[in-house]
Symmetry: C2
Subunit: 209 residues, 2 copies
Amino acid sequence: MSTSQAPAAATSALRQGLNSRQAETARKLMEAGLEELRAVGHEALTVRTVAQRAGVSPATAYTYLASKNHLFAELFAEHITDEEPATYDAGASTTQRVQQAARDLVARIVEEPELAAAVTPALLGADPDVARLRLRIGAEFVGRYDAALRDPARPEVNPDPAVLDTLVLTLSGALLQAGMGIFSYDQMSERLVAAVAVILAGTDRNGSA
Amino acid sequence: MSTSQAPAAATSALRQGLNSRQAETARKLMEAGLEELRAVGHEALTVRTVAQRAGVSPATAYTYLASKNHLFAELFAEHITDEEPATYDAGASTTQRVQQAARDLVARIVEEPELAAAVTPALLGADPDVARLRLRIGAEFVGRYDAALRDPARPEVNPDPAVLDTLVLTLSGALLQAGMGIFSYDQMSERLVAAVAVILAGTDRNGSA
DNA sequence: ATCCTGTCTGGACAAGTGTCCAGTTTCGGT
DNA sequence: ACCGAAACTGGACACTTGTCCAGACAGGAT
């Protein structure tokens, strides 16, 4: 009865309601997780090896990380979120802006190829921790395309939701197909840029390839 | 030295180069797999429970099924492939034909919701068996959209590959998002139909919403 | 009827995953 | 300097997954 293992909520928010000591442990685990991922890939990585690299016992690691998948989702969400928003050339057409957004996003993802490979299966899990992160990641995608779709001259008018949905669907699809190895993450960029051109061909009238 | 466990290739084609006895065992396993999937869902299903339901030892099951994921991929490929090709109304626009194709595909998928939920994560695995099936499934998707895109009056002219790619990306994306629980498989149909309208808005000139 | 080839069985096995708990360390407050 | 609460440790645990092998079994050819 002298312990209370779980920080804050039992299986929740890695970065919420942690005191400084816990925050430090969590940070070490995240960093070790990314290093381990780069070093051995997502297949070989286990929560225990991450714990070891972080200089922490497996039991401790499990109080912060519900699972391997949770770690991957957390790392990916952080990676994709930690980027300054793009600024678009004033003269760019909608198509050009959205294509830029797609390229930026893919570039960011490709920076950590192992993470990209790890996250797609991870996000499909049923863990509540993962579910929360899925929403955050999805929101980030929507936010980026939404921003790119807005006319710089009139940023208050909302983009067509059907177009936005379709763009996000192609992005998810590209992520899935790259995750499956149907095409490389390098080719992903071209595919998405082409898809953007197709999708906006009916809407945007000055800039589709 | 008295055995040769693996049928044909060590870890390959479930339906190729099997003699009648093996084919019978394989069939029993596939049927039992689908029943088990319906009964307990893909989380609880294990190769061992499928073996038991099929009246076969676990060791035998493992000579046909490399893994749970392999089973799911095999079942899904069979399910999606075993359907008579749609016929389209002669007067239908390209958009209408493609929307019909999307609806048919989703309808087919929704027939076995547990299978749909199981297959998305399964297809992301690295097993060679799964990789083979991924290609077959992908080809089926492409084939259906390709057929729907062709003008019934001039079926020999190939559809724009960029449009075809984009359609397949949205389909994969919808599958992924439904697999993640972002929307239900019921909503999937609407989303895809809307996406088709957006994608073909620039191309097809008589039938987009 | 017998043999031979190949399929199937039963059970043991190693490896990995997440849980649990009793005990130790750390650190802030008094 | 001490005390108590909270974080961490080490190790055992139950469970699942896929592999392996020696032997039992069936079915067709001779």
